[in-house]
Symmetry: C2
Subunit: 349 residues, 2 copies
Amino acid sequence: MGHQETHLYREIHAQPTVLANVLRVEAPRVARIARYVRKRAPCYVVIAARGSSDNAALYAKYLFGTTVGWTVALATPSLFTLYRRPPRLADALVIGISQSGQSTDIVSVVREARQQGAFTLGVTNDPRSPLAEAAEEVICLHAGEERSIAATKTYTAQLMVMALLAVHLAEASSMVEALHRVPDAVQACLQQGNHLRQVAERYRYMHTCVVIGRGFNYATAYELALKLKELTYVVAEPYSSADFQHGPIAVVADGFPVFLLAPQGTVHPEIHALGERLHARGAELVIFSDVEASLALARVPVRLPVSLPEWLSPFTTIVLGQLFTYYLTLAKDYDPDHPRGLTKVTQTL
Amino acid sequence: MGHQETHLYREIHAQPTVLANVLRVEAPRVARIARYVRKRAPCYVVIAARGSSDNAALYAKYLFGTTVGWTVALATPSLFTLYRRPPRLADALVIGISQSGQSTDIVSVVREARQQGAFTLGVTNDPRSPLAEAAEEVICLHAGEERSIAATKTYTAQLMVMALLAVHLAEASSMVEALHRVPDAVQACLQQGNHLRQVAERYRYMHTCVVIGRGFNYATAYELALKLKELTYVVAEPYSSADFQHGPIAVVADGFPVFLLAPQGTVHPEIHALGERLHARGAELVIFSDVEASLALARVPVRLPVSLPEWLSPFTTIVLGQLFTYYLTLAKDYDPDHPRGLTKVTQTL
């Protein structure tokens, strides 16, 4: 079987279509929900999610902060399921994100919040799932069935739903327009496949690494690290550039691989400065950027083919990261569709 | 120089005294602050912190949830410092935690929150620090100067402050009494030093590992992983048992080292079940527990010498973890007082 016939390859490459679908089909519903939520004026937002969906929640944390000025708390499901001491949520907007809509803990948070009188929103790929039933309103991912175990197209679809929601909550029409540039930008990233295939070979024997982003791309750091762990079994640890300097930087010695997410924007100068510091320590730097000075620091530069506004760069950085991970999986002779020890739907309490 | 003359050794062993000091000196102040905060009835709590202090914030997230039913959001300082788009905080209780009280990003969050009219609380070891000046009220750690770069006594002092605050907010007098058992329990853990010294030898050549806890000990997982990274340069990644099963478990193959925090309590059955699953996969398990069945699963059992209520077990689990890390640092011939590339006060924006 040619590698292009794997589910994972096809799903990575389906992303421009999926993202265009989400924009086309869900925008009117999201606009209506946003009008309703604005009227209710929640004090803060609580998001319940696991795995890749939790990384989409991290993106929302920064996006809701910068656009509508709302604080986002990531839920602690064990307070609902194990400790049975759910916090008060009546004044919050509560969002559950789950590809399958099956995860018992996520559904529990949404169900409890709705009983308390909070406005609840489910974001899922399955409109007939328990999550969709539990939530007052549902936004669908329109990704088609996701057959590979590692989430790709549903992750970027979740980012798109969060972005749509934030810009409609902020009534920022110019930002709505910018969203329509995303499917083409993702398509341009997919054309970097051959380059990333060559690049990945070098990391055949990499066993551990660190992935660093900040602000909007803090989510990308988590999601890229998760893909690397799921598919290549590399112990990849995600960090913000600030947290990394509060202790963990001690692990970096000569040749230690660090993946740095450095698209242009507000946090770029800080990420670049960390890149210089790591370069001086002899780290092996793989840098995803559209800034020449940052690419020049890298042992392996990964150029972003399109420069989006910073708040949209997580779409392009993660797609390049997915391709890198995909080809590293092949370079290590692992099966991209059957990671060891994982199943598609993970049930946790 | 004998190893017992290192700052780190002395500071680990000072913890019973420091904890007793915090209880004795700060309890009346915390009780007064708690009465005031209850009257203001905040919608939710925002905590700003970095490094070990951020791990103390994770403990507070579970403790505030179970005791007073408040949702805790961990602040995203870059929204305040880099993006300059601080979220609305007027309805929140905002807490800044910093050993030195110097970190610019943490001080920024507290200062902005106070300007917005939120009640702000600083938790720091230096009552004359910028954080202490920025916050409306200050609670001190009474740890004396912390000279080793890796935080130990200030971390458990922060846990104690968070615990004092939560139980006073909840007006739970029986929980206040339970807090007084902590200094002696920590003292009993310190008597396990010789055992942990022997245990640590086995991990001389460990380069990566995973540390798993849930609920109250999710904080311990983060803090133990941070100590391992700072002092032994092991790439140690922390997880909740639930998140770990949503993908990262794929990294576990035969002999992969997993540190499991499994004290008795509400989340114990779930942690124990994960231990069984990892045992079946051939993981090398180091299990911190006071439950015989869990200790029996371990390649290396680390017995908790005293059984505290679950919400207090993070004091004993981390002290045993600090001792393990300390002796592993010596086993690897590293200098516990001078980790490479770190300074005591880390300035980030």
